[in-house]
Symmetry: C2
Subunit: 213 residues, 2 copies
DNA sequence: CTGATATGACTCACGAGTAAGTTACCACAG
DNA sequence: CTGTGGTAACTTACTCGTGAGTCATATCAG
């Protein structure tokens, strides 16, 4: 009676690797749904069913935890992009295949999209490093496709290419975001929508790469 | 000696309307350069050369001050868009003219762009109302242009239109943002760049609407 | 003397990060 | 098969800085 009841300290004995994964899962969802700045470490601890100091024990800081989430989420997305890129499709069909893969990857865990694109997290230290690594891996894919288009049109200005690439990446993000904002639409439906939209702008598109998977 | 020296309280006697404008100007710059969340009211007071309580006297809260900034900035931008829209240009040329007007408007005060597009400000209360008003005024212009393009292509699906509109607005934002990220490029140069980029995607464009002003 | 303009010095809530202690489990000596 | 000590997992209850918002007061024009 003299000492307070320390309800269940140490009784769970979950292995560190397992616990870390549980925490990262809960944190990805919380950060992704509310943004970095608006999410407190206490919120995440509660969602993960553990206490705050355990997070600091394992991840060092709020930034450290976010970097771990970023590593997980960005790894998932880049792996998917690299997978579709390896399929050998080219031109606009490749853009469609990449979007299709993104919709399918995001469907069971849509929150990681906002996690990767969150602007409320400072681009410094571990977070900045993780983001830079991610962007470096992504950069080439979009860049090559846009360069191909520009060369076909006879434009080899480097800054034109840079601006066009920015416009393309932004369009890609807009389409994904639009889809996330319209739940109930399946990845298949959204991919077909993208095919229609691209056809409106660019004319007929070869969609044979989509039928197989 | 007994009472502390209250250096210069009330000695300036600047009229409220004037002071409010000074504060809004300083706040627009501070919010636009650092974002809503990362800017403290004390920072703004210092930049404006006055003290914190005066801001609360005139604007009630940090949100109130931000809403006033938004009213000023979004008003400037929508006025410019409505001006170019009234010139009667249509199709892709209208998109170019609108971008051109945006570059010229933003050149002397580039920070208001980020102010209007800041995601760290909550979309509630006065801020949400101001943003909604702004978006409502903007919506029609982009929407009509996109609808025209879609009809020409024989696509009248409402959701396709919605997604295409989102893609267009995103591209517009990306081009403006790219320009802001590449200082030293004049509005004229950037407009010509946009003409080249649009030509790459859509083919030849009528630029006669640009030569006059 | 009244009201508008203005400020120094506070309060207070919130959230990141920490100190110190608690419990369970396991390896190993006797 | 029993004590016993080391360690990993875990918690409660704090500190402490920061920034939004407030109060009481000061100055001056009309």
């Amino acid at each position: 009676m003299a000492t307070s009841t320390r309800s269940n300290a140490g009784t769970k004995g979950v292995a560190r690797a397992v616990r870390e994964q549980q925490i990262v899962d809960a944190a990805c969802r919380a950060f992704g749904e509310s943004g970095f700045a608006a999410t407190s470490v206490a919120d995440i601890a509660e969602a993960a069913g553990i206490s705050k100091p355990l997070i600091y024990n394992y991840f060092g800081s709020k930034e450290g935890l976010y970097a771990a989430c970023l590593h997980h989420a960005a790894g998932t997305l880049t792996a998917e992009i690299e997978r579709t890129a390896a399929s050998g499709t080219v031109g606009l069909a490749r853009a469609i295949v990449t979007l299709d893969g993104m919709f399918r990857t995001l469907e069971p865990q849509p929150w990681i999209w906002r996690l990767v694109n969150d602007s409320t997290a400072a681009r410094e230290g571990a977070i900045g490093a993780e983001l830079a690594k991610y962007e470096q891996r992504i950069f080439t894919f979009g860049h090559d496709g846009v360069a191909e288009l520009m060369q076909l049109a006879g434009n080899d200005d480097a800054r034109d290419l840079s601006a066009m690439h920015a416009a393309w990446e932004s369009t890609f993000r807009a389409l994904v975001t639009w889809w996330l904002d319209h739940p109930g639409e399946t990845p298949e439906q959204m991919t077909q929508r993208c095919v229609r939209l691209f056809s409106t702008v660019f004319g007929q598109i070869d969609t044979s790469a989509l039928t197989a998977p």
